[in-house]
Subunit: 466 residues, 2 copies
């Protein structure tokens, strides 16, 4: 790297440091918008979030538009022409619901900066980490480059989604419709993952896929009195519980026929690399107040999270669940169930196996209704590409230690879509921490994640230029 | 029976017929009071219901008072002195919650008189059948006797409860505290059961008992992202489902150790009597839109309902249950579970067996919390007493065919308390129909149940006098 280039980067980094308070104010403004995508009541708020982002991007030289979809808008922004690689940045502006609200210590949509028990400054709000804070690390880095140099080190486009937390049905058609223009990029960048630990940046190259299903069982045609009908009328709560219990064998494996057929064993090389990460099962589970691994016997926790599929009951409800007691046999019971996929597992095949398994357990006088909530295969990013190597260098420079390559238990379907629709590989670079409580009450983002995330992108953009 | 007495009964019955509209207006007034006992939000409404009843009873010559308890009031009313037996009448003025509200075709607390599909007049409202309508059949019969003859055929006391639908914790202490005065009665009358069918009155002599438990399982100390933690962190939904599923064996029997130890087999005599009732399994299940009996294999439906214990999951909830999908592993999941008891099953023993069974399934890093929601043993009324025979005669006279002796799958704990605390046997006489949808949306009481219920009590009071 030339001295001139180094000086330039330092100037941009200094600008980031000096402007941190203003960067924070902009994040707060976005966090105050209640963009819960899964709940139709917040549709206008999602539009408001998209419009806010468009305004910010236009303010720093992007040609930005909020494109309407049958769901929430997709923000697409094109930066000035520039030599070198063209990067397409992705993040999402929608957030998860906030219930149970009573467990929040402050209003989820009124961000507060406070100290955690370890004395770290944290930003508390729904979306602080997932994914508004992460999204703004990139936008603020672009802002700093523009402010100091009047340009960006590489050509940058952004595609920002508002349905990541609710199935993301409308993004793939948008990508299909704009395939040529979007596919003109050389590499996709996604900021929706976490660091290896507070000192070690990472790029994620393995992501689990997902199949999400809602299942509703109907037995009687009305609620029944459990005294009058109990023991003779089928209870859908009991039936649903039996179905859920049947999904796991005593050894913790998932029982669906063919479930593991397309699951590749992790190679000895990758196992060795993971062993070197010093992952501590007890510490990981301890973050959640647990100490005994659930799931498959004889698999390490890291392997279960990154390289093994799972079946999780995300929600279930049936009968009377209010205060007190009601001796009812309900007519219906339902559950939301998701499968995380790895390797070459086929979402279509897994969904079909699940439905067949459930249908076989439904008595002839009862019925079941399935609702699909999206499905995506797992993806793996080749670990020897030029862009990946350059991005690792940028990150390592910022953090003063080598960035590591990791897997992730979560699903980021867009990475699969980038490959399938646009032919692009994706670099997953994020600054979240394991204790950010994303999807939970009191979600937070470390102020350090935000600040050094911005600084990291300043450097990664420079290193990607070559 | 003397001609004079027959004439007197006819005069009272004519008075009932002529005053039916006014009787109905009084029922409507009571049905409009939202006395949902299980929900603390309706505490004042429960008091209002008690006060309304006190006013009515005072108006027809009773010395009536609403006695405060730590929960809802107990109405205790003493009628004028009279020769012959002293009867203690029991019913309850509280009602079940009304959810799911969207399934009601009219306001649950604004009674409407309408025709059902079979052309029968029905009164639709929460509590129309269970138990306000039933309660007023007795009070209106007393009113008619007083209006026509200025007295009652027997000495009558009433004890009317406001916590039958919510555990009834405060009635036994009230009975203990007033043991001598209440125990001065010769027989208890309870109006909270149904007729055998629309033409056949019945007196119930076997009632199942109940143990109700709420169980809450806690795994992680916060909600987790199912992608980040799935397959490694224990999911309380899965665990709860496994626990519920484990409560039933493949043959439909309940698996708790010792569960059937104190269950007596039904005698051949009673089995023969039940066989003569012409109970139709298909018709019974068909009322609920079902056709295949659940529960124990090789037991008739009637036997399962009246003479076999059961375990029912009345409610369960965990995780995200709103619109859309949320990939969460919740911290907690909970269920409301009730056991119906028969013969000599001991509620204390059954509760302990359940808790031990659940506790044995909880991993060491998870926890469980139990909440007891009341328990009562099953009761059996001797079928050869004078009062029972007299009451059967009164009912048979009204309906023009022999009244039958039946069992009931439901629990009426007060009948056990009458025996245990006051030493009284109980005659369970009611006019509800199997399709009344008690505890469900669109609860109704046949106008015929109300009208002929009043007439029935007119005759039963006369026949009890001997």
């Amino acid at each position: 790297m030339t001295d001139q280039k180094t000086d330039q980067i330092d100037a941009v980094l200094n600008h980031v440091d000096a402007g941190l308070n203003q960067s924070l104010e902009r994040l707060y403004a976005l966090l105050r918008i209640k963009s819960i995508s899964t709940d139709p009541a917040y549709k206008a708020e999602c539009q408001r979030a998209a419009d806010w982002i468009v305004g910010e991007l236009q303010g720093i030289g992007f040609d930005a538009t909020a494109h309407a979809t049958p769901g929430h808008p997709v923000v697409w922004a094109k930066g000035p022409e520039q030599a070198g690689p063209h990067v397409l940045f992705y993040a999402h502006y929608d957030v998860q619901p906030v219930d149970p609200l009573n467990l929040w210590h402050s209003d989820p949509f009124e961000p507060v900066l406070k100290q955690d028990a370890a004395g770290r400054q944290i930003i508390v709000a729904r979306g602080a980490s997932d994914d508004k804070g992460q999204m703004l690390t990139f936008i603020e880095a672009c802002r700093a480059w523009q402010a100091v140099t009047g340009s960006l080190p590489v050509k940058v486009s952004l595609m920002l989604e508002g349905e990541e937390e609710s199935g993301g049905k409308n993004l793939p058609p948008f990508m299909e419709a704009n395939k040529v223009a979007l596919g003109a990029a050389d590499i996709a960048l996604v900021c929706d993952t976490d660091m290896w630990d507070r000192e070690t940046p990472s790029i994620t190259t393995m992501l689990r896929g997902m199949v999400a299903e809602e299942v509703e069982i109907t037995c009687a045609d009305k609620d029944l009195h459990s005294g009058m009908f109990g023991n003779a009328a089928r209870n859908p709560n009991q039936l649903l519980a039996e179905i859920i219990a049947s999904l796991r064998a005593p050894d913790g494996s998932v029982t669906l026929p063919g479930f593991y057929d397309d699951v590749a064993e992790v190679s000895p090389e990758i196992k060795a690399q993971w062993a070197g990460l010093g992952f501590d099962d007890a510490e990981f589970l301890g973050e959640a107040g647990l100490s005994i691994p659930a799931g498959e016997k004889n698999r390490s926790v890291l392997e279960m999270l990154w390289a093994r599929p799972t079946c999780e009951i995300n929600g279930m409800i049936g009968g009377y669940t209010g205060d007190g007691f009601k001796t009812v046999i309900p007519a219906k019971a339902s559950a939301k169930i998701s499968f995380r996929l790895v390797s070459n597992m086929d979402p279509v095949k897994i969904r079909a196996a699940f439905r067949a398994h459930v249908e076989a357990m439904i008595p002839a006088d009862c019925s079941v209704r399935f609702t699909a909530h999206g499905g995506s295969p797992a993806i793996t990013v080749p670990s020897d590409g030029t862009h990946l190597k350059r991005a690792l260098t940028g990150l390592s420079n910022e953090w003063g230690k080598p960035a590591v390559i990791t897997g992730s238990g979560g699903s980021i379907p867009v990475a699969g879509d980038f490959k399938r629709i646009l032919g692009l590989d994706t670099l997953l670079i994020g600054f979240a921490q394991i204790d950010d409580a994303i999807h939970s009450p009191n979600e937070k983002y470390d102020l350090a994640s935000y600040h050094r995330g911005i600084r990291s992108w300043v450097r990664v953009l420079a290193s990607l230029a070559g």
